[in-house]
Symmetry: C2
Subunit: 413 residues, 2 copies
């Protein structure tokens, strides 16, 4: 049994995490939120209070924190008595927060892989570059570290495990498909931090196929999908975190990730990338100023959190898992559909933040209760998916399945 949660980060996903932690503070205990800018934490806690989101009376404190300073993170963990850390800050801080958890014994949960600011798309498997190097240290210190526990990575890893456990004896392929059929009404915006969003697509597209890492360029491989609720949608093979752990845990299967993009997104992305404006390397202006173009693009784009009020439409994210059962071909599509407007009404965020922010809170509840308190580092597909997906069914992210027996909601009682 672990109690008291420290949320690190204060963006759109942190807003969702805060609200969902508040909904479950009876089991999670005291709540804390920390970020480089304390005012952003204060605004999040104010929105929690405004919606009267705390299930039972209890503290929700805010803190200023430089999360790239492991000692400061460890000190805050000790000062607050938090036994669970939910890291939903920038992808650049993961390793520092993880070190602080290893030092203090707190459980660690994140939703995206660690990145170094000046490196894009390192060698696969990505988890081996930073996270897995600390696996042994977690084991020795009996520290629970649940990597990539957002939606994708996260829930989609649980879907893959569910398919392998319950529906497909011999898994031959796992295709994760992420479609946002919503509309934010802006000329152009990214649904989360533009810097991280673009970094995902400027590097090599790694996939695991026929037992090897394969390499493509972004938007090189596309296909149309016909999905529940959102209908026919074009998606493109993209690099993504979960490929890098699923390939290790299901090495016999092809593992690919497909992200939906409209022609307008692709056009804007292509122009910016072709001109060099998505580069993470500095350029020098005629006046002699050193500037990283990607950071300027981020500065001119809308703040993803600002999209929430006007966002309409739905997302569909799921796993198409193919293989054989009893020697016969079988395939299942396990998925969730989320609604942007519903998300905004419940927690004040858009659907992309919602799908990313609810799952780590479900993971925290399972850690708090002991079910997922593994005492070591794991990726989500290494854990029993049933309690996780069962919790998500009642927390706002229900799971459905479409297979030869039809299209239907799944329950995990």
């Amino acid at each position: 049994m672990k109690r008291n949660v420290l949320i690190i980060g204060a963006g759109g996903v942190a807003q969702v995490v805060a609200h969902k932690c508040a909904h479950h503070n009876d089991v999670l205990g005291d709540l804390h939120i920390a970020s480089r800018t304390k005012a952003k934490c204060d605004a999040i806690v104010a929105s929690v209070q405004e919606k009267a989101a705390m299930k039972v009376p209890g503290p929700f404190s805010t803190h200023q924190l430089d999360a790239m300073d492991s000692a400061a993170v460890a000190a805050l963990i000790r000062d607050t008595g938090c036994q669970i850390v939910i890291n939903v800050g920038s992808a650049f801080i993961n390793k520092y927060v993880l070190e602080a958890c290893i030092e203090t014994g707190a459980a660690y949960i994140d939703t995206a892989i660690h990145e170094e600011p000046d490196k894009i798309c390192e060698t696969p498997p990505w988890y081996a570059n930073y996270e897995w190097k600390r696996k042994e240290a977690c084991r020795e210190a009996s520290v629970t570290a649940i990597l990539g526990a957002g939606f994708d990575p996260g829930v989609v890893n649980a879907y893959a495990r569910l398919a392998a456990d319950d529906y497909v004896e011999e898994v031959e392929s796992i295709d994760i498909v992420d479609i946002n059929a919503g509309s934010h009404g802006k000329y152009f915006a990214t649904n989360f931090d533009p810097e991280i969003n673009f970094r995902e697509f400027t590097g090599t597209v790694y996939a695991w196929q026929n037992g090897n890492w394969t390499e493509n360029k972004m938007f090189e491989v596309g296909r149309e999908w016909d999905l529940p609720v959102v209908g026919k949608q074009k998606a493109y093979m993209s690099g993504h975190d979960e490929i890098h752990s699923l390939a290790a845990n299901y090495p016999q299967a092809d593992v690919r990730f497909w992200m939906g993009f409209g022609d307008h997104y692709i056009n804007v992305f292509t122009v910016l990338k072709s001109l060099g404006l998505l580069s993470e390397k500095p350029v020098t202006t005629a006046e002699g100023q050193e500037v990283i173009p990607l950071k300027v693009v981020k500065a001119v784009l809308p703040d993803p959190a600002s999209l929430a009020p006007g966002y309409t439409g739905k997302t569909c994210i799921g796993d198409l898992v193919k293989g054989k059962t009893g020697g016969k071909p079988v395939e299942v599509f396990i998925y969730n559909v989320a609604d942007h407007k519903d998300a905004y009404e419940e927690v004040g965020s858009q659907g992309i933040s919602y799908t990313a922010g609810v799952p780590p809170v479900a993971a925290a509840i399972l850690v708090a209760g002991g079910t997922w308190d593994t005492g070591t580092m794991v990726n989500v597909e290494e854990l029993d998916p049933h309690p996780f997906l069962g919790l998500l069914n009642v927390m706002g992210l229900p799971t459905s399945i479409r297979d030869a027996n039809g299209d239907r909601p799944l329950s995990f009682d």
Copy 2:
């Protein structure tokens, strides 16, 4: 009779000016070139020497100069004994260089209107904002100042005057059309300073129609033109310097400017503008750095001078002048066709720089000889166009005409 020329600026146009001054140093006298970066001047003079471009033996000296410091410009004019200044530096320096000419008595020639870095597209007529305010001072000091003596503005103003003098009794409309049908082989590049190029198209599109300034947005009004040599080409109504003097000198006529753009240019421009990346106002990055987006876009784009070696194809720039002669409708298209490759072979620059850089040297020769040594400030259409166009015929920019009598070269002997 004036002698000795100071060229200010060291970009692609300055390269052409330097070579063309060298071709005529027998009448122009000593040559000097000055810029913020002396090394760029040295490179230009080296290319002049390499092509053995000096007509007669004589000096061609290089200087470091902050051209936004009027006193420094005046000192250099005095030190070098230059009586003619050809200003082909950034559009931000004009007023400072003009002040120095007024102070020293040197003749002033430029090719584009003055701009303030933080202002785009000021109220029309643009010349009234900076240049014409100094007209009286030029008259009092008997200083010759020839404004906008490049191709457009410049030669196209002379074409308008030629049409009015020789072909169309009552001018009813002047449509200037600028088509670059060349190819530089890059994903995207501007043909001159990207900062100035984009600034032309981010503001209001002013035209003079029915005796009033009219306002449109860029790419709002487009039409297809069928021009000599380059054929059918789409061009869009754009703001441009020469409209602002021609409207004052031919107020009874409509005056419009049309710039040719391919769909790719428009797409890239639209993406950058819509995102706010062409803004001249600073933005602040997440890290707190103040940056002007337009300067970052400039930094990532190819240096226009670098396009020259691979540039192929032709430009066609001309004036369609309509009106009545003897009460009957008449129209003439007076134009030049230039070739990118020919320009590179002759002076090491691409065609856009060539068309902009040859005319101010022709103007300097006419000032040196006294024909255009007006002792006051003028726009090009206020001067007799015949000697100017006659000189350009032999300097590489021949004039043709297309009217009811056919399509033919013009001579001005």
